[in-house]
Symmetry: C2
Subunit: 480 residues, 2 copies
């Protein structure tokens, strides 16, 4: 508690990395002192929000026909081995269970790094006919990766909390429709509820998920100009379902192999983007629906206690609310709850009450407003409807301003150095373009993130790097 | 799908074990064909209900001041070793992670069998003063036990889904108050929402959790006369927090060791009791608040489709609802949804509609009622309020009738053989009574479950076994 009261001592724009670290500690989001490297303890303030994020995402997935499962955390080594590029991609990152009690197990079990090889095995038992397709599932799960890269709380840890959807389809076209649906879901949830702007890319051929035919992903921008990969979605190579014998009888009675897709919104990682995109020098700002607490009441003096309790009863009918009775001074309380990102604060003072006035502070605009007592509830409801929209609009503007067109490597470099995202004509995101991407990375430290799935504009000109005819418009950014 | 349509082929009372197995398969609750022994795939019909069970329990815990955390799944071996009876009790059941990627880890990590040793380590960093006590936490988690006993889906598997609360208190008295609060929580959630009757026992001294000073647990009765241990709650020995240095400064500035309690409602196991206690020869019966689906509409013919859709829109304002458009015959649909335990079914036939009548089937009483169209919504709301009460009342009566007084071992044996719970005077639940408990177990196959925490009656007479003065009234039952 003592530490949190200090407030943040650095500015987000000046030292983003330190700002992020301080925010996690001072807003009590996670404790990094757990004694296994790369594992952390998620504290109530982040868990309460992540629970709401899970619930927002699950509601949309269920509405779109995904059914929920709980699969085992353990996957036999043999399952992982069935698809060669998958095991190659994941092996360096797998935690292995080798003992049960005092006995060495006959077969090693992986702590799931992702669950394709668990789901597909069961798909082969469940799916029989085209009538059952698309077969749409998901699970809420914790997954494990023995990261070789440096870990960063929420962004990259060795255990994280996510949702993984796994679907089987009758054709590649159906699989592609699913990818588009996943993009829509990302918009509905990450953008419209969590307030996060993103671009949905098809990744270049050299940057795919192990075992994927095509990889798509949403990139969210950090204020330091780096993008964070949020939900990715994949059309898997058919070798994958084939390895597990996931087949179905089509309308003509012919036995065919399904096409599979998966989509992986990592809630603990998306929480990082919520912190980063909306937070400011004072601390967190939460969109309304995912705030751990929506309204806090600060009684400035003893005499207003009864009034505070009465107000609480009224507000809790439509929002989560708490009265701060701690023995801190009002100013400390203000700073504390602003750091915590509570959307609405009500300051209850005796003098105001005598004049039938109440002061409302809204964290989205960092603004105080004095409203008449009789209007208070109406006002809170109104603000609650505006908060997410305001945060989203601000984030959208910031994001859109970062995207700039470049004609050559010099311009790309300049845009990247200014913390932006460069858009340019590019020879090809197929294998033959990899060399140009390498040049970009070498010269600017940034990567070709891919082509926008929902972009209508076609390239018209030459590749900004090699000068050959351009087949794609690509986006270039630094990433984590 | 094919299989489910067959319905159950055995009666619950005649072959309980086979009834249970068939129900899991035919109502598609879990698939046991996953290729790791003792691990299963929980399917949507059970997951949807368990999600609601989690949410009911978490709501009550949060209201009572427990804050939610996500702790790592892995616990270093050294943490587990810190308290000797704990490691002794759990070692034979621990799955160990020994490899990360291709490297052998320097220290083994346990897949948590329970998380005291993870929480207490952090408690020692977080708790400073008596002002922070009681410190009340919980987490929703999956836990792992390399069971040496035979596994049984939902009842005892090697991975299960539970909530574990961990609290620190200033005194043993405060710890005891927490135990009573946990008992109340069990009543509020398991009895009042899930409809499960139980008795809350203090376990005899020889039947305690590894590391516990006192163990309490709720026993739920199965129709075959065996009890299932549901949430247990423990006051841990102070050696435990002492091993982790969980201390606080009391009002006088003196450094003291906390007392700790934990409470572990295993949702996947409680789901088994919901199946078993409420289910019948036709299948499942769900209490209203935890039904995966609350209302199903069966259009008997094509012409009522529009009416069905209109009804659905009205009902989904207050309940989950689905129209069954599958190409099964109406009779098959009736059987299917009765097996699935959906509380309310609406049969929409053309003839009824012409007479402005609608047939409503309620699964709690297995009864059809014809209501006028204009009254339908009111009727559904009324039934929804009655369903859990009816199921609970029926279960309570059955449970209470099973408890019978016994004066000697012969009477105990008779009650147990008839599938009941015997209540008798008993010398002592402390160490000196263990011999009498052994005699009971040898003669009847049943165990002394303990003394009722909320029982006011005092023993007045002699031990039913050894004839010495009785200090306790105990309950005796067979268990899983």
């Amino acid at each position: 508690m003592e530490k949190s009261q200090e407030g943040l001592t650095v500015k987000k724009d000046e030292n983003f990395s330190e700002w992020y670290t301080q925010l996690i500690e001072k807003a009590e989001l996670a404790d990094l002192r757990y004694n296994i490297k790369g594992f952390l303890v998620f504290q109530p303030w982040s868990v309460l929000s992540m629970e709401k994020m899970f619930s927002s995402m699950e509601k949309v997935l269920q509405r779109k026909g995904h059914s929920p499962y709980f699969f085992p955390t353990l996957i036999p080594e043999n399952n992982l081995k069935k698809e060669s590029s998958h095991i190659k991609g994941f092996t360096p990152e797998v935690f292995w269970v080798t003992q049960g009690g005092d006995n060495v197990l006959e077969e090693k079990f992986a702590l799931r790094p992702t669950s394709e090889t668990a789901f597909y095995q069961m798909f082969s038992l469940w799916i029989r006919s085209y009538k059952e397709l698309p077969f749409k599932t998901y699970q809420r799960a914790n997954i494990f990766r023995h990261e070789t890269k440096a870990t960063r709380p929420f962004l990259r840890s060795r255990e994280f909390h996510w949702i993984e959807t796994h679907c089987a389809h009758a054709s590649k076209e159906d699989a592609m429709s699913q990818v588009k649906e996943d993009m829509e879901t990302t918009k509905e949830v990450l953008h419209d509820i969590f307030g996060l702007p993103f671009m949905f890319f098809e990744r270049p051929s050299w940057d795919k998920f192990p075992g994927a035919e095509k990889t798509f992903a949403a990139d969210v921008l950090n204020p330091d100009g780096k993008v964070v990969q949020q939900p990715s979605t994949h059309i898997l190579k058919q070798e994958f379902p084939r390895a597990f014998g996931v087949t179905f009888k089509d309308k003509n009675g012919e036995e065919k192999t399904v096409w599979t897709t998966c989509y992986g919104p990592a809630i603990s990682r998306i929480f990082a983007s919520v912190m980063i995109v909306h937070g400011d020098d004072k601390g967190l700002k939460f969109p309304w629906d995912i705030a751990p607490l929506q309204v806090v009441i600060i009684p400035i003096n003893e005499e207003v206690k009864q009034k505070a309790e009465k107000l609480k009863l009224e507000i809790e009918k439509f929002a989560s609310v708490k009265i701060d009775y701690s023995d801190k001074r009002p100013g400390e309380k203000f700073n504390y709850w602003e750091m915590k990102g509570v959307p609405i604060r009500i300051d209850l003072g005796l003098k105001d009450l005598e004049n039938k006035k109440i002061t409302v502070f809204r964290r989205d605009l960092d603004k105080k407003e004095v409203v008449s007592e009789s209007e208070l509830i109406k006002k809170i409801k109104k603000i609650s409807e505006e908060i997410t929209k305001n945060l989203t609009k601000k984030a959208d503007n910031l994001f859109n301003n970062k995207i700039k067109d470049a004609k050559n490597i010099k311009e790309i470099k300049k845009i990247i150095e200014e913390g932006g995202i460069a858009r340019c004509n590019f020879c090809s995101v197929e294998k033959e373009g990899e060399k140009c991407a390498e040049i970009i990375e070498k010269e600017t430290g940034a990567q070709v993130r891919g082509t926008k799935l929902d972009e209508k504009q076609k390239p018209n000109g030459k590749c900004a790097i090699c000068g050959k005819p351009a087949h794609n418009i690509v986006y270039i950014a630094k990433s984590y």
